[in-house]
């Protein structure tokens, strides 16, 4: 299908499209990207540690020190292709162990609550706004707009592309009358306008017509459905620049060895399907996977892990310098742990985001996206466009 609109992102010479996957609940980074080369890992996690490579149910080796949880082999495939990088011992050092505070602070990319009134993605979108922008710059595949998009001009929350419409839409007089009941000076005028405009544009572009390409096989899950729809929006060339997709249920306080593999298998299958589906478009797409904080270095009596600090993030895309577990490993010895019990943060995730904004999203002043913080040089993770 020919595009009818101006391309705003996702093409050569233009910014990458950014897909943000948020692992809600604080994913356990150390049982995902396993530091099997650190003996302290096995001392601290006697109940739940993933064995080293070569053993039964052992990790899949990545670089001789880190291994991947064996439930997520597609992540290793993407890693070996040079398309995927992990960053370990990372996070936004907000100091909160509350899921809700921490998610808000990570979505604001700030360590101080005074900055919670806008999200970091919104700040980027506002800073790079242009008169040619389309209503689809920012979309959350969700029933609600995440805090990271708060403050952007009318971000869209689309829980289901296929059902995004009111009956037989298309500019009928009922819709016109409804829109007139939400004039500009009333609350929710922007939301109503955005919804009705989106209905019309979606009806024309019809993203649901796009089946996964290249044999991509999305898992039938929240994340699989979210990334499938993200792909459909991208293929529709509606001018989307940022897409947010959530994946829940990472809060594994108990019985982690039984539940984490399912979550990781879903993550790996969904990322792999998206990468396959996007094909050459992947050259101009960056996927960021992040969570609110890491989990406690030691396991607990319930064979789970409690709330910690440093965690793991992932990057996927044609512009990502992949096949690396980036960041410096702080160690897990008694003197190495943050607050005596957590994996420390050695890479402030905002440094990585700043490099991404500059090199892939063509934001000339990424520092302005992070209030109260001056980004520092990050590990080399992105090729410049």
């Amino acid at each position: 299908m020919a595009s009818t609109g101006t391309l705003a992102a996702g093409a050569a010479g233009l910014p990458d499209i950014l897909v943000c996957v948020f692992q809600r609940g604080a994913a356990d980074g150390m049982n995902s990207i396993v530091p099997y080369g650190d003996d302290d890992y096995y001392n601290l996690r006697t109940r739940i540690a993933v064995p080293p490579p070569g053993q039964v149910d052992g990790a899949l080796d990545l670089d001789g020190f880190f291994g991947l949880h064996p439930a997520a082999p597609e992540i290793k495939t993407l890693y070996d292709m040079g398309r995927l990088a992990a960053i370990h011992a990372t996070g936004v050092p907000h100091g909160s162990r509350s899921h809700f505070d921490a998610q808000a602070l990570v979505e604001a990319a700030a360590t101080d609550k005074q900055f919670l009134d806008t999200g970091w993605l919104a700040r980027h979108l506002v800073a790079t706004a242009s008169p040619d922008d389309r209503p689809f710059r920012a979309v959350a595949i969700s029933g609600a707009v995440p805090l990271s998009l708060l403050g952007a001009a009318d971000p869209l929350a689309i829980d289901s592309i296929e059902q995004f419409g009111i009956g037989d839409a298309g500019g009928g007089s009922y819709e016109d009358t409804l829109q007139a009941l939400y004039p500009d000076d009333r609350p929710y005028a922007g939301v109503a306008q955005a919804a009705l405009t989106a209905i019309e544009e979606l009806a024309i572009a019809d993203p649901s017509q796009y089946s996964p390409d290249n044999g991509a096989n999305y898992p039938a899950s929240q994340l699989g459905g979210g990334l499938l729809q993200a792909g459909q929006l991208i293929k529709s060339d509606l001018g989307v620049e940022v897409i947010c997709v959530d994946v829940g249920n990472w809060d594994h306080h108990e019985n982690l060895p039984a539940v984490l593999p399912g979550s990781l298998a879903d993550l790996a299958a969904a990322l792999n399907a998206f990468h396959t589906d996007m094909g050459n478009r992947m050259e101009h797409i960056t996927v960021l996977v992040q969570t609110e904080f890491g989990r406690r270095a030691a396991d607990n009596v319930s064979s789970g892990t409690d709330h910690g600090t440093g965690g793991c993030a992932y990057l996927l895309g044609g512009g990502v310098i992949g096949a690396q577990v980036a960041g410096s490993w702080p160690g897990l010895g008694p003197g190495d742990l943050f607050a005596g019990e957590d994996l420390a943060i050695t890479t402030d995730l905002r440094d990585v985001l700043a490099q991404m904004l500059q090199r892939r999203l063509m934001n000339p002043d990424p520092a302005a996206v992070f209030p109260g913080y001056a980004p520092q040089p990050a590990p080399e993770l992105f090729l410049a466009k």
Binding site: I158, L178, A192, A195, H253, E254
Partner: protein
């Protein structure tokens, strides 16, 4: 006469129910976590009241008082407040045991029997009755919210259910949550904060949900301790430390669940007997079960708790970002009354802020549906499979009771609910009123009964559904739309069949308007 050309949404009731995309099987449940009279009235013309912050003509003080303390204004409640006045009406709602709810409770007992069953009884059929328990508990909750004459009480039950939020579709919680509802939340919803806090701490559903049933001496599980401080009492900025979290967890070691009965059990041998220090208070060794109880007393009496609960109540009843003076006033009432819930409500309702808060809240999905149900139905004439309809609607809108996964409860701010898809789904559901099988649930023709022309169709619907005056430009807008669609003027007499045919579209439009979303 030319047929009206409003587009009919392309789904019948089967499709409507299927819109949940889930059906109601257990695996699907797991996956789906995804002034009365408006423009009427006689007497001397009143001065034109100031528009609300939304720029709309305000509802009367009586309508506002009813809307804010209920799941939607019913004709009965509006007649009541007109008859006795706002103060007496609210006082009676606070003194809820004087209101007869036997009709509704008899209906609940007959329709949703498992909602009142204890864990041991429910376990006898486990797990085959999982789906039935969930349907009964959700059904009973919504039935009471929509039809109980004790509306304020049900609002408070919902408030505390959400404050002490427990996700229903989680392990064995379907066996435990009905008891949490009938033995913890409902009996204490109008008592004192300390009473409901103590009851919640010993609720097997809570012990399971926040893992305290696995909290043992020497191997603490601090999930409950953290959420107790952050979400149930002090608030995240309430002045506690990581050490307090750990010490509180030690105090609650040994608080677990009797696996035979599903009841609370304290196991002394699993309890950490040592000295603890919580918020600077030393809890001496050997306290046993009193360690946890002492913590609960400390927390219930803490000024941060007073402020945290006051803020949430003001957010519920006044505005997302309530005035600081009001929060101060309610927090002071909390401290002076030892958290007496009726006292807090009286303080709130007596404030100017409460009475001047029209349109400052966006109705949440439960209130959107409640307003619709309460406009059209009473408890005994509602079709029998109502719970399934509620389930489907609230699944689409994203607020099935007990379905919020994390322990912080459904958000109570417009920033969460006022999204594009949130509005769109409300609009779609409003248009579904034209589907015959849905219309059987919502007899929308009641809204236009007796209307003889287009102008009367509009005015009658506004009275019936919105209970408030329409801005003149909006009335003109809708009238012009109907005139253009039908090719007739507003004062031309219409036959009753035509009026009835118009009803679902006119009702849908107003139900989709800002007047119906704001409260």
């Amino acid at each position: 006469m030319k047929a009206i050309k409003v587009k009919i949404p392309p789904f019948d009731r089967r499709r409507f129910l299927a819109l949940s995309g889930q059906g109601l099987g257990y695996s699907a449940l797991v996956a789906s976590l995804p002034g009365c009279g408006g423009s009427g009235g006689g007497g001397a013309p009143a001065p034109t009241p100031a528009p609300t912050p939304a720029g709309l003509p305000p509802a009367s003080a009586e309508v506002l008082a009813v809307q804010r303390t209920s799941f939607g204004a019913s004709q009965g409640a509006l007649a009541e407040v007109q008859a006795v006045g706002i103060d007496a009406f609210l006082e009676q709602q606070i003194d809820y045991t004087t209101i007869d709810d036997s009709v509704v409770e008899a209906e609940v007992a007959a329709r949703f029997p498992l909602a009142n069953a204890d864990p041991a009884t429910l376990r006898n059929d486990f797990p085959n009755n999982f789906q039935n328990i969930v349907e009964d508990l959700v059904g009973a909750t919504l039935f009471r919210e929509f039809f109980s004459p004790r509306q304020l009480y049900e609002v408070m039950v919902e408030f505390w259910t959400n404050h002490f939020s427990i996700h229903l579709i989680n392990g064995v919680i379907p066996l435990l949550k009905p008891q949490d509802d009938f033995a913890v939340i409902r009996p204490n919803a109008m008592r004192s904060f300390a009473e409901i806090l103590h009851a919640s701490a010993k609720s097997p559903a809570m012990l399971y949900y926040l893992d305290n049933f696995l909290n043992f001496a020497g191997a603490p599980q601090e999930n409950y301790a953290r959420e107790l401080l952050e979400l149930h009492t002090l608030g995240v900025d309430g002045g506690y430390t990581e050490d307090d979290v750990k010490e509180v967890a030690r105090c609650f070691t040994g608080w677990t669940i009797d696996q035979n009965t599903g009841q609370f059990l304290f196991v002394p041998i699993l309890h950490d007997p040592g000295t603890k220090v919580v918020l600077g208070t030393v809890i001496p060794p050997g306290g046993g079960i009193t360690d946890g109880e002492t913590v609960l007393d400390l927390l219930a009496a803490h000024p941060s708790t007073a402020r945290f609960i006051a803020t949430k109540l003001c957010r519920r009843f006044v505005a997302d970002d309530p005035p600081g003076e009001l929060v101060d006033e309610v927090a002071a009432a909390f401290e002076q009354s030892n958290g007496d819930i009726p006292t807090l409500l009286r303080t709130l309702f007596a404030s100017d802020a409460f009475r001047e808060s029209g349109d400052m809240k966006l109705g949440r999905p439960m209130e959107f549906l409640g307003r619709l149900v309460r406009a059209f139905n009473g408890p005994t004439d509602f079709p029998a499979d109502d719970a399934r309809l509620y389930f489907a609607v609230l699944n689409i809108l994203g607020q099935i009771p007990f379905y919020w996964i994390p322990p912080n409860g459904y958000p109570d701010v417009a920033g969460y609910w006022g999204s594009t898809s949130g509005f769109l789904n409300r609009w779609r559901l409003a248009l579904a009123l034209n589907v015959p099988a849905i219309r059987e649930y919502f007899p929308v023709e009641q809204a236009v009964a007796g209307a003889m022309n287009l102008a009367e169709v509009i005015d009658s619907t506004v009275d019936f559904v919105l209970h408030r005056e329409l801005a003149a430009e909006d009335r003109e807008l809708v009238l012009t739309w109907l005139e253009d669609e039908l090719g007739i003027d507003r004062d031309v007499p219409l036959d009753a069949a035509t009026v009835d045919a118009l009803a679902p579209f006119v009702v849908a439009l107003f139900v989709s308007s800002p007047y119906f979303q704001l409260r």
